[in-house]
């Protein structure tokens, strides 16, 4: 027994797998010296032939790390090229929309002029899109009106939503008339609302629209991949208007600078509530 005098032979150290981990103290006795002494002569033969061996776990770790790194690089390259392609796509779409809006506007003017030339009358189509703002507060609201406002997602004063106009919704707006003001927003209103006050409903959270990724992840299925797509869908009340407008959290608007006229009577009578058709744009300039 050469070196095994002092601190050593507690041999039952070897197989401690049955000892629960919390039981062992951190500083354990050194039984390893004996083991090392035994191992040295065995390895010494191998040592003289090869270089000092790297433990297998280190080799595995290195291999794993390198594999991960190469994969990560590939993934980033792919992602980058995809992002570039997407950006080009978005650019083209935005360009196309600018053209479309211009054509639309000029069309209306052209048709009106044409009709006037011939002594005829041009009746523009009824509005398809409305922007509804809740004017009055929470208290003392009758149940029918309350329900309608809930359905429109107007749960707070000065909340606004985009609404598609059809017989059903027009009647709903009529029920809630004293509590809302609404009208037909123009392109500038829509853009301002979505750019400045646009928040997305993601997983039940109200997240700002800071990049097109949020939009694409949610509305990719409806072929809306960027904010311009969203604006286009809303403004031209497309097929996926429902998804686009539901994606948007109800707009939280400011009180109008310059103030209201009189919230308690209809716009037509000199007040504020009810349908004010395209005068809503002027109000929105003051509220957004």
């Amino acid at each position: 027994m050469p070196s095994t005098e002092v601190y050593v032979p507690c041999r039952s150290f070897d197989n401690l797998s049955h000892v629960p981990r919390g039981v062992l103290p951190r500083s354990t006795m050194v039984a390893v010296t004996e083991k090392k002494a035994e191992k040295k002569p065995v390895k010494g033969k191998e040592d003289s032939k090869k270089l000092p061996a790297v433990p297998e776990s280190v080799l595995k770790h290195r291999k794993r790390r390198d594999a991960l790194r190469t994969r990560r690089i590939q993934v980033t390259l792919k992602r980058r090229s995809a992002a570039i392609k997407k950006k080009q796509q978005i650019f083209k779409r935005a360009e196309q929309y600018v053209k479309e809006y211009r054509i639309r506007e000029r069309d209306e003017i052209r048709l009106a002029r044409q009709a006037r030339n011939r002594g005829n009358y041009y009746v523009p189509g009824e509005a398809k899109l409305a922007f509804v703002i809740r004017i009055r507060g929470i208290n003392q609201v009758s149940p029918k009106v309350r329900k309608v406002l809930q359905l429109f997602r107007l749960r707070q004063i000065n909340n606004g939503v985009f609404v598609r106009l059809n017989k059903a919704t027009i009647n709903m707006l009529r029920i809630a008339e004293p509590y809302i003001t609404w009208g037909y927003p123009n392109l500038k209103s829509v853009r301002e609302l979505i750019y400045k006050r646009g928040f997305a409903k993601v997983k039940g959270q109200r997240l700002p629209i800071t990049s097109n990724k949020t939009i694409e992840e949610k509305l990719g299925k409806s072929n809306i991949i960027c904010i311009e797509d969203l604006i286009h869908e809303i403004f031209t009340v497309g097929e996926n208007f429902k998804y686009a407008s539901n994606f948007l959290w109800p707009f939280k608007l400011n009180n109008p600078t310059g103030g209201w006229r009189k919230k308690t009577i209809h716009y037509v009578d000199g007040g504020d509530f009810g349908n004010r058709e395209d005068k809503i744009n002027e109000l929105l300039r003051r509220m957004v």
Binding site: R11, S17, V23, A31, I90, V98, I209, N212, I227, E228
Partner: protein
């Protein structure tokens, strides 16, 4: 691990602490039983209640008066008061726990449940765990025993120890075996108890020393019993209160050879149930492999895990794209084109206006004036474009579809080029 255990050989030491050659015993299976400090603690708590003596206050304490409340109207509290007169005691409050000389709240009763029964299974499992823990030097040290210099753990000594009759010899044996430092520690720890135990026949306190487990007492008990801290235990009657004093596993145990050999018969192995204990087999460990680090880093588990998500997502501040151009570009890259066009259109308008004003007022602008310059560039460009368009239309004259696109392209180029070089 319970199925395939390496059982190291434990060498036996003579009473002079030399290895007895040729006699080494395979480690009994008990020492591989799962060590359950929680179980041992629970069983110890219950077991140590079993040697209690009941205490209580006297049954009549506080009630040996005929006190009655004076009722209301006498400007005193309504507590029952002692009747009669002529002594301090008269009129004093009685019976209540708040009264001096009254009975205490909830007087302690002798029929309190003093003892606890422990399930046999649990008792046996705890004993197995305590024995197993005594084979781990780390645990024994953690419990506080001085075992630096002992030859081996578990420490097995030849049966000659059982024949020791004189305490002097016992001490010599302990010294030779290097267990004396543990006993010394006991000596050093002898002190008076803190508290009222002093006057209740529990005056002195000391820590526990080594535990000697034997098979046959041939004078061993009487030799060792006067050494402070040393406990003796028969293998057939292992006592958890001695194996794990205080509920803490890892007592320093010195086994005699025959005692050590008995352990296999007493506790059995997982394959064979115990011979002595009916219906008993060593408890199964909850985890076969308790090396958590190894497990977590193993390939099998790593493969099934998803990649770690080390990205910290913080909420981004919303910048208004209508005023912040970078934010706008991020959302709508075409906005750059629109903005640029607006800038250039404005410039062109300014130049045209300047020229028109100059004409109207009859002022001649210097050729270095930017409006004049821009106009010249524009005219030159238009001339070049017309030439280029003419050349293009001449060549693919056969094809019908060719001419229109070049014209459109030329028109577009004219539009694009005239604003471009102005800056």
């Amino acid at each position: 691990m319970s199925l395939s255990i390496a059982r190291p050989l434990v060498s036996v030491y003579s009473e002079k602490s030399e290895v007895v050659a040729g006699s080494s015993i395979a480690l009994p299976f008990v020492f591989k039983a799962p060590i359950r400090p929680d179980l041992v603690n629970d069983v110890h708590v219950s077991m140590s209640k079993n040697s209690r003596q009941p205490y209580c206050v006297s049954k009549e304490a506080g009630h040996q008066t005929s006190a009655e409340s004076w009722g209301t109207g006498r400007a005193v509290a309504r507590i029952p008061r002692v009747r009669g007169g002529g002594t301090h005691r008269s009129g004093q409050g009685a019976f209540g726990n708040m009264c001096r000389g009254g009975r205490m709240f909830a007087p302690t009763k002798p029929w309190r449940r003093w003892h606890r029964r422990v399930n046999l299974r649990q008792r046996r499992a705890a004993a197995a765990a305590a024995v197993a823990a005594a084979g781990v030097p780390a645990l024994v040290q953690a419990r506080g025993h001085i075992i630096e210099k002992i030859p081996e753990l578990p420490l097995v000594v030849s049966d000659k120890v059982q024949e020791i009759t004189k305490t002097k010899q016992a001490v010599i044996f302990l010294r030779r075996i290097k267990a004396w430092s543990d006993v010394l520690k006991v000596y050093k720890s002898q002190r008076l108890r803190a508290g009222k135990g002093k006057m209740r026949n529990r005056r002195r306190v000391q820590r526990k020393g080594p535990l000697i487990i034997y098979y046959k007492d041939q004078g061993l008990t009487r030799a060792f019993r006067n050494i402070p801290g040393v406990d003796l235990l028969k293998v057939d009657k292992l006592n958890l209160l001695k194996l794990a004093p205080g509920g803490h596993v890892g007592r320093f145990i010195i086994w005699t050879q025959s005692a050590f050999e008995r352990l296999d018969a007493l506790f059995g192995s997982w394959k064979t149930p115990s011979k002595e204990k009916k219906n008993f087999n060593l408890p199964q460990p909850k985890m076969a492999n308790t090396d958590l680090t190894r497990l977590l880093k193993s390939e099998e588990i790593r493969k099934v895990l998803r990649a770690p998500n080390k990205r910290v997502i913080r909420s981004t501040r919303k910048l208004n794209p209508l005023t912040n151009s970078k934010a706008m570009l991020r959302l709508n890259p075409f906005s750059a084109v629109l903005r640029r066009k607006a800038v250039l259109d404005q410039q062109r308008k300014n130049n045209q206006r300047a020229l028109a004003l100059a004409e109207k007022r009859g002022i001649k602008l210097s050729p270095k004036d930017p409006a004049v310059r821009a106009e010249k560039i524009r005219e030159r460009r238009q001339k070049l474009l017309k030439l280029a368009a003419a050349k293009k239309t001449k060549k693919p004259a056969a094809k019908k579809t060719a001419p229109p696109p070049p014209k459109k392209k030329a028109a577009k180029e004219a539009k694009a080029k005239t604003p471009a070089p102005k800056k």
